[in-house]
Subunit: 326 residues, 2 copies
Amino acid sequence: MPDNAKTQCLIGVDLGGTKILAGIFDTSFNCLGQVKISTKAHRGPDEVINRIARCVKDTVDECDLSMSQVRGVGIGAPGAVDTQEGRVIFAPNLGWENLQLKKSLEKQLEVPVFVENDCKLHTLGVFEAELKAKPKHLLGIFLGTGIGAGIIIDGKPYTGINGTAGEVGHMVIDINGPECGCGNKGCFEALASRRAIFRNIQAAVKKGQKTLLTEMLGDDLADLRSGDLRKAIRRGDKFVEKIIDQAAEYTGIAVGNLMNIFNPEVIVIGGGVVEQLEHEMLPIIEKVARKNALPGTSKGVQIMATRLGDDAGITGGAVLVMRQTK
Amino acid sequence: MPDNAKTQCLIGVDLGGTKILAGIFDTSFNCLGQVKISTKAHRGPDEVINRIARCVKDTVDECDLSMSQVRGVGIGAPGAVDTQEGRVIFAPNLGWENLQLKKSLEKQLEVPVFVENDCKLHTLGVFEAELKAKPKHLLGIFLGTGIGAGIIIDGKPYTGINGTAGEVGHMVIDINGPECGCGNKGCFEALASRRAIFRNIQAAVKKGQKTLLTEMLGDDLADLRSGDLRKAIRRGDKFVEKIIDQAAEYTGIAVGNLMNIFNPEVIVIGGGVVEQLEHEMLPIIEKVARKNALPGTSKGVQIMATRLGDDAGITGGAVLVMRQTK
């Protein structure tokens, strides 16, 4: 472990609907260790906050460090965040509304805590720790249970006037498409998120569709994960392949739209779905996006998958602490 | 005329598919005079460039000024522009490709010429000359023959990596919608631009649809203008009203998407279609946009029509000269 890590550690936390991942970093954003525990959102916000604090302390302990060596904690929450107050405005996957996450955690951890939307933090992590040649304008698009994005303009996170910019998952691309959780029809998220993909598969299976997935997981597909889709496709399941092709095509249209709107230097695509199905999805996403965007907005724009995977969020959390405590 | 105008005049030019409008401004962006002539794009680029130069000189002469008192000319072109070189990359409504507009005009006018995309210039004009309380982040959306936008972030024009950001007209919102000139289906522009509206009306009339428009203009509707639609609606034409309601609803969905993506402080809507049909369209646009956007991205965001009308482009041209020659 480098010397400065002993006095200046940064902690990043990725808070998801199913798991909490905490990582400890030195000031060059090298990960020194990480701990993952389940979120248990059904136990209520107080219990989840206790678990986040425990996960942070366990990570520090794993690395034989103490909280006094921690400069701060940066945490990404799956929803809308008031970054000034460190308040989670709304996080549907956790069932949270208007929660003072910063205050509660600072009381327990006695170090500064910074809260940001998870996709914005993922993007910050990719920008700072993965991309060597810093792009001027970067768009990070993340496909998980939901779909969100982070925007970096002129090397700085762009968050809009309420801090809520980047809700690309609720860009309508098929006005007559399936209903979205937000109440609209045909949002990007209602067409290509993990939830949308699973819903399409489960609906087809209920109608008698044959698939290797039921052999692997049983008829109810209760434990279905993105990785299972990859396994089924690689074992020749044409039905699952078609579902994933379709999601990739919708994603390509959304990425083409965003290329036309932003004309960024780099578009990074990540999230659990893409991490598991990059090989299957990315070529289709890129092909459709470039076909759909105007030549002038697509030319020279790089489209790539993040290599950070699950670590993007915790890395971004560490970057946030670094930027906020400079 | 203020004194400094005699030594420091700024000229803005709005180059459209059908007309060239030039305006002369003092350094406080007060318009001192303007001249409008037709574009005659069919006569070819050389002739159009001659006409732009003539229009600029006529405007100067109208105000009893001379070109030696002109600090520069800012011109908005309907298409993709390389602002560094002042080159029009592609302007489909003029039939232009790869045209050195800056160089050619500077030779004729002997003052500095700056070229920008027309919608970006409209937005700059609104930002600088219309909005007293400067919004931090502004989106200008303009519905004319086509649809385009200008983006201002942190008070500065955002143009992307190739200078082509803001192509919101080619955001797909109805994946199965009508074909767009760009080759995609269901672009915003293919659903709500003047061209889309006229196409829908003419197709329905061909199929026998009754409308006051044919009484006003004859069966071929050859001289149809946006203002005629307003007149027909105000005289009770339910068919035209429905067509315009539909275009406004599509626009509302597009604006909702952009609110989710940008969460700007202000969204200004303009262009020939909205200038003529503001009363009919704006309430629908705003209602649908706010219904479609997430509460967190819509809250506090102001949606308004520009009061500058046709003058937005020339005002923006003057602002561009001011910014480039500071």
